[in-house]
Each structure stands twice: as structure tokens, then as C-alpha cells.
Amino acid sequence: MNFSGSILLVDDEAHIRKFISLLLRHLGVERIFEAANGSIALEVYKKENPDLVMLDVNMPVMDGIETLRALKVINPDCVVVMLTSLANRQTIDDAVALGAANYIRKDAPPEEIGRALADTIDNCFEPDDSGPAAPDA
């Protein structure tokens, strides 16, 4: 995967963060930030300004949809990939309507997650990695 940017990974389940972050490192992503819920994610986002956010849907404190809305207020161009478990059509539609770039089933095997992430990166970033382009709706 050709991506030299940074990724913020948001999920309340530690094992998911462990799994996805190991996968990201394996794919060559070097700068990974983690957050266990939406409100922490917003803090980290403001501080670190990551290039891409991977965002869980079901979380306590502040859920994924709410967090997505807040992220889009901070930066309307931020690239957000939703992490879902069971594909819930309604949630996915809501997220896409709010400007999410893609969604990934986190219960999929690593290569499938990697492929979906690579697709999103291809769609949303210029090949020279000079920062995010407009998300492909």
C-alpha cells in the first residue's frame, strides 16, 4: 500500500485496535494514533491532524456517527472510513450522507480490510501523498 500519511484509529474495543493497528503497521503505515471513544478521538484529531480516520460505529460516550459529524465540523475535508461489524444498511447510508469516504467490515479477514483501505486511499489521495483530496462521494 502506497501511503505515507498518518491514521487515527478509533474503537472502544482494545483487541480491535490491536488487530487493526498491527495490520496497518504490516501494510507500512508508520504513524498510527489510537482513541477509545469519540470524544478522545476529537482531542487527538485536533492535536495530531491525521490524514485519515478509521472510525468505529458503536461506541459508548460518543458514537461513530456523532463523532463523524463533529470531525466534519472541524475539517470538512477529513477522510473518514467507518469500521462496522454487522453491515447495517441504515448506519452506512447515514455515514455516507455525512461524508464518510468508505466503510470497512472489521470482522473481515486482514487482506480484505487491507484491500478496502487501499481502495479508499487510492480514491481520496493524490499519488504523491501531498495531503488529502476531496473525498470521493
Binding site: E13, H15, K18, F19, L22, H26, S85, L86, A108
Partner: protein, 380 residues
């Protein structure tokens, strides 16, 4: 849940009986006999009054005189049956004449039995007891069915919740093991690799089970939502054949597709139908000897179209055929490469196919193998 066994000694005391007769003396006699037995009695002197008293008293049984001024017993019975339907209390007719015509008319009107005047108290008591007991058994059975279907729905909900909550941790375990096997955290020793591969295999088969349980729970709870679109059968089958061939190659098995002149279209939920094709092909690979050839044949007769998966396994034992498409219907036949089976796959296939108004069946090919045939209404 309470023990669903029915108490065999039925206590009928306090059961409500409505006695209807225009003859006061008759009412007094029958009332006396029945009160003596511990029943609660309400009386009515005409059909019209009977309808009123019925509504207020809600009896468990009605004793209804046939010959009455105003609306007679048969008409009263028909009115009651119409008003209360299945919930109407059983009606026993009381008639002075025991002529056959009368009796037949009584049954036609919805009565369950008849008594002839003058009364023989023992007969009255025995017949009433029989009908009250029957009625009570029916009620108990209805309760029981209701309780059981509630318990079954609760079980499905529980399974669904369980499966749902197990899925994410299991996916993480599987994913982490897979990444370690790919040296994501460095080169492994051969022992470490063996252990990691064991963890991967075990979590993979648990995930499979959990996913199938979740499918069953979703379908049983009536939450199977089909996103139908006109789809080419060849396209669905081709993709599955391609993907399955990768896995089948490990057993030196090959899957071939046999097309026909046309490319039949069906109105289906692509993902669900792929699941059916995948499942049938995987089964064929699982139960066929190493190095065999599995054939997937497209079929269409202008009304229905579909596909058939032909394997070279041992076939389906006749004695176990009935279990095949049922939940947890595992057969005695074993996979040939140590693969796992939950016994849910074919049940899920059947449910998906039936939700599309299609059919799924199996035939043994004499000499070798089984052929699973799926047929769906052709899209026009």
C-alpha cells in the same frame, strides 16, 4: 420456563355454564344437577337473552334448548359462533325429540353434542364433564404453544446476541494470528508458527459457526431482508466457482461450470444467493475424495432456472435424507479432508432459497455422488 407438562387431573370446579331454556322447571332441574357438581350457572329463558347473558358471563359451556319462542336454539348457536368464532364456548343442544334430523341440524349449527329430555342426571354430568375437559385441554395446548414459541423466539434472540458479541473478538484473534503468521511482528520459530496456525484455524472455525448461528437467528426472527435485483445465474456461479477453486486446489479438486445456450436471469439478493452457491460448492469439495472433479450445471426450462452442484462424494444415505436441510442436521458422512461442519449450512441455504420462492433438493447419482439442485422463478 415452567414445566410445560399438562396436569392430567383436571379440576373443573367453578367452570361457568350457561343454561338456556324457556321452561323454568327444566332450568331449575338442570341448574340443580350442575350446581351440585360445583359449576357456576347462569340462566337464560330465550335465545335473545342467551346472547346478552353470554356476553356478560363468558361461559365455558352452553346448554341450549332447541325449541324456544323467538330465535330458536340453532339460530342462537349460529349467532354465537359467528360472534365469537374459535373462542366460542362449546354448545350442547337440549332437545325433547331425539329425531335424527334434529341432531344433524344441531351439529350443522356448530353444536358439539346433544342431550335429550327428560334428563338422566348421570348422563348430563358425564357429557358436560367430557366437553369441559376437552375444552380445557385445548386451552392448555394453546397456552403451551404460545409459551413454546415465546421460548423459541427468546432462544433465537439469545443466539443472535451471543453470536454478535462473539464475532468481533473472534475476528481479532483470527486476524492477529494471521498477521503473526505473515511475520508482521517478526520471523517465527517453527513451533511458534505451528501454534499460531492452530489458533488461526480454531478461531476461523468458531467464526464460521458463529456466523451461521447468526444467520439462523436472523432468518428465524424474520429479519432476513432480501435486496433483490435481476441477476445472471452464470455470473453468480462463475464468481463462486472461481473463488472456490483456490481453496479446492488444496485438495487437488477442480470445480467446473457447465453453461447452457442462454444466460437465465433471476430476481435475487446477490449476496444471499452467492452464499448458497458457495455453501453447496464448499460442501461438494468437503465430501468428495481428493483429486475429484465437481461440476456446476446451469439449468433453465423457461419457467424456472438455477444450478446444480454435482459431487463425487458418497451420496446422501437414504435413511438420513430427512435431516439434510434441517437445523443442525449433521449426517454420519465425514468430510474427506478433516474440514469442519456445523450442520447449519444447508438449513440456511434452504431458508434463503425458499425466501426467494425457489426450491432446493438433492438426488443421488447412482454409482457416485450427490447432486444438489436449486431452482428459482425465472425473471421476465
Amino acid at each position: 420456563m415452567e414445566d410445560p407438562l399438562i396436569n392430567p387431573s383436571i379440576d373443573l370446579k367453578g367452570r361457568r355454564i350457561l343454561a338456556v331454556d324457556d321452561d323454568r322447571i327444566n332450568l331449575r332441574i338442570i341448574g340443580g344437577i350442575l350446581r351440585n357438581e360445583g359449576y357456576e350457572i347462569a340462566e337464560a329463558a330465550s335465545g335473545e337473552q342467551a346472547l346478552e347473558v353470554y356476553a356478560a358471563f363468558q361461559p365455558n359451556l352452553v346448554l341450549l334448548d332447541v325449541m324456544m319462542p323467538g330465535i330458536d336454539g340453532f339460530a342462537t348457536c349460529r349467532t354465537l359462533k359467528k360472534a365469537y368464532g374459535d373462542k366460542c364456548a362449546p354448545v350442547i343442544f337440549v332437545t325433547a325429540k331425539s329425531e335424527a334430523d334434529d341432531v344433524v341440524m344441531g351439529f350443522d349449527a356448530g353444536g358439539v353434542d346433544y342431550l335429550t329430555k327428560p334428563f338422566r342426571p348421570k348422563e348430563v354430568v358425564a357429557r358436560i364433564r367430557t366437553h369441559l375437559s376437552n375444552q380445557q385441554l385445548v386451552e392448555q395446548q394453546k397456552d403451551l404453544v404460545q409459551q413454546l414459541s415465546k421460548a423459541n423466539a427468546a432462544k433465537d434472540r439469545f443466539l443472535g446476541m451471543c453470536a454478535h458479541d462473539l464475532r468481533n473478538p473472534l475476528s481479532s484473534i483470527r486476524g492477529l494470528a494471521e498477521l503473526m503468521d505473515e511475520n508482521a511482528i517478526g520471523e517465527l520459530t517453527s513451533e511458534q508458527r505451528e501454534i499460531i496456525q492452530t489458533i488461526h484455524g480454531a478461531s476461523q472455525s468458531m467464526l464460521l459457526l458463529v456466523n451461521e448461528l447468526l444467520d439462523v437467528a436472523t432468518i428465524e426472527a424474520g429479519h432476513l431482508k432480501l435486496e433483490k435485483a435481476p441477476t445472471s445465474i452464470v455470473e453468480i456461479v462463475e464468481r463462486s466457482v472461481h473463488l472456490s477453486n483456490i481453496e479446492a486446489a488444496k485438495k487437488n479438486t477442480r470445480i467446473e461450470m457447465v453453461k447452457i445456450d442462454t444466460d437465465p436471469m433471476v430476481d435475487v439478493d446477490r449476496n444471499k444467493m452467492r452464499q448458497v452457491v458457495d455453501n453447496l460448492i464448499n460442501n461438494a469439495v468437503k465430501y468428495s475424495p481428493r483429486g475429484s472433479i465437481i461440476t456446476v450445471l446451469i439449468h433453465s426450462n423457461g419457467v424456472v432456472a438455477g444450478f446444480a452442484v454435482r459431487d463425487s462424494g458418497p451420496g446422501i444415505p437414504e435413511s438420513e435424507r430427512h435431516k439434510l436441510f434441517k437445523d443442525y442436521g449433521r449426517l454420519s458422512t465425514e468430510p474427506t479432508g478433516g474440514e469442519k461442519s456445523t450442520g447449519l449450512g444447508l438449513a440456511i441455504c434452504r431458508k434463503i432459497v425458499e425466501a426467494h420462492n425457489g426450491t432446493i433438493g438433492v438426488d443421488n447419482i447412482p454409482g457416485r455422488g450427490a447432486e444438489f439442485i436449486v431452482s428459482l422463478p425465472l425473471y421476465k
